[in-house]
Amino acid sequence: MKALLISDFSINNLSGYLKNDFIEQNLEIVIAPFNQVHQVLLDDTIECWNDRFDLGIVWTQPERVLKHFAAYLNGEDVNIEILLSDVKDFSNLLKVASNRLKTLFVANWSIDFSLNYQGILSAKSEFGIYDVLAKMNILLANELNIIPNIYVLNSQKWIAMSGGNAYNSKLWYLSKTPFHSSVFANASKDICSFFLSLNKPNKKLIVTDLDNTLWGGVVGDIGSENLVLGGHHSVGEAYKDFQLALKALTKKGIVLAITSKNEESVAMNAIENHSEMVLRKSDFVTWRINWDDKAKNIFEIAQELNLGLDSIVFLDDNPFERERIKHSLPEVLVPELPTDPLLYKHFLMQLDCFDSNTISEEDRKRTELYSIEKQRIEHKNGFNDLEEWLKSIDIKVKCEELNSENLQRVLQLLNKTNQMNLLTARYAEKELLDRSFEENHFTYAFSVKDNFGDAGLTGVIGLQVLEDTLTFTDFVLSCRVIGRKIEETMLSVAINLARKLNLKFVEANYIPTEKNKPCFDFFQNSKFEIQKNKFSWEVEKMYIRPYYIDLEIFD
């Protein structure tokens, strides 16, 4: 992995932290010539652009890259419109440079707020430094947010986390480094976490304990009426806030489950009837409230939800239970919950394992979707024959080309799906968009619904014409709808397209990973001809798709 750092100050300190934080990615860093930000962004003949970079990071000081802001800081009378015009010009340079990078992170601007720039006038609207800087940062974000591979990062957070010594005059005069090394340490952690969240699946499921985790006390001993939860009590309030924070995560697509050593009826009574409970039964997709080993419970929950153990986070106040899971299910993330419940919410909100660059409609509805899936499975159990069951649930599949409305969800599926994924290719937004403009390339998105509900956009195929063959560049299906013959329906769309384009073959080249064996198994049973990891279909041959699936294609 290669990164380019562009700055108007000495940014070498950040380079050291990044190399340590990205140690698994073996990060190579190039630092662009010092204090030549405008030239570097504009001129792609400068030597530092000789390499191709996965990531560019631009971090500047506003008084050094915006001419009129420097004058403004020196007390000159500068019109706000002129300041904002400088911001637009600088944003345009960043947009140009972003074409040369897979991903570009731009740190927003900060100044040393400990300095007394304008006294009481600092906060005055239109004129005050706080207001001006906020306006500049908002405009920068608005200008850049429309570019798919640019992300604006909050440098003010890194500075605030470093406290009163964040700015260091001595370092500035001795080395042209404005910040204390702790600012760079904070920046590096965010940069690493954000970059990895773009390219690897985040956690999807929190399995939580109940007693002394979601509420204070042991419900089986003291009864639900005596639990410490909510009310005018610091600890009760902290537990309630912790539940609110967990509930907020469900809006980002994280689902919740319970494993707790309790009598189920007693625990469920508290969940359903305690007046201060935030999380109710409907907020959990499944639960194992029993006296069994929690490792066994978590394993069963993962199987039930068809999720990998590495997508699970386990929360429990009891160090013994945490150690048990760490030891027996090492793929599960087990954070060290603080001993003091007053710190639970803050601790949860500092975890970066739930970071995602997009939140789709499917994410917001995920808990509901799992609940519908539960009903579907119960219904399925009443049938002996899979086809009979599939016919009974009236499946409708909508196929449409990649467009601006489905782009984010398509990107999310491509980058986060592991099991039914032919090549496990991961994409930056810009790459996917660029590809969609190529004449010989096709990307289709599949949405699925049935009598039980709408699973949303759950499948993607990418196809490329190579001579007389239509080759899959992607074949991805969410685990939520695997096994409902959507896979076969997606194949039929590809074969029909090949026929329409007068091609002879459809080909799929499987690239094995640790997790995508289900995709190999599907193609192996698909009647495609197999040669090692390559599957092919002669277009002349009729491919019969499941006739009971109602397929609607939108061009």
């Binding site: 000495s10 070498n12 300190n13 050291g16 932290y17 190399k19 340590n20 010594n165 260091n168 001595k170 370092l171 001795l174 080395s175 480094t177 090394s181 760079f184 340490a185």
Partner: protein, 101 residues
């Protein structure tokens, strides 16, 4: 604990903090023999360049200020400008600090 030992402990703590910002091959060892900086006349090659030397000295100064008070001044620019041997290795730097306290 003697003054020299106290200074040595402070410098070693500063090395721990400094090393967090350095990639593996540039991390300093907590040893009095650790060579800091290469300069004409020094026979051994140090791990720091002119920029990382500044970061290191500022980190040491912060640690000394925590122990000796905010007014402590390592006189970093003088140290960097000097043609003397204070920056040769950790031992010589510790001696310099003991001298200016």
């Amino acid at each position: 604990m003697s003054d020299l030992e106290k200074i040595k402990t402070i410098v070693f703590n500063a090395i721990d903090e400094f090393n967090l910002s350095q990639e593996i091959e540039n991390k300093l060892e907590k040893s009095e023999e650790e060579v800091l900086f290469s300069r004409a006349g020094f026979t051994q090659v140090g791990k720091l360049d002119s920029l990382t030397l500044v970061y290191f000295l500022v980190t040491i100064e912060e640690h000394l200020q925590k122990n000796l008070g905010d007014s402590f001044n390592l006189k970093t620019q003088d140290l960097i400008d000097s043609k003397e041997v204070e920056l040769k290795n950790i031992a010589s730097l510790i001696k310099y600090i003991q001298h200016i306290i």
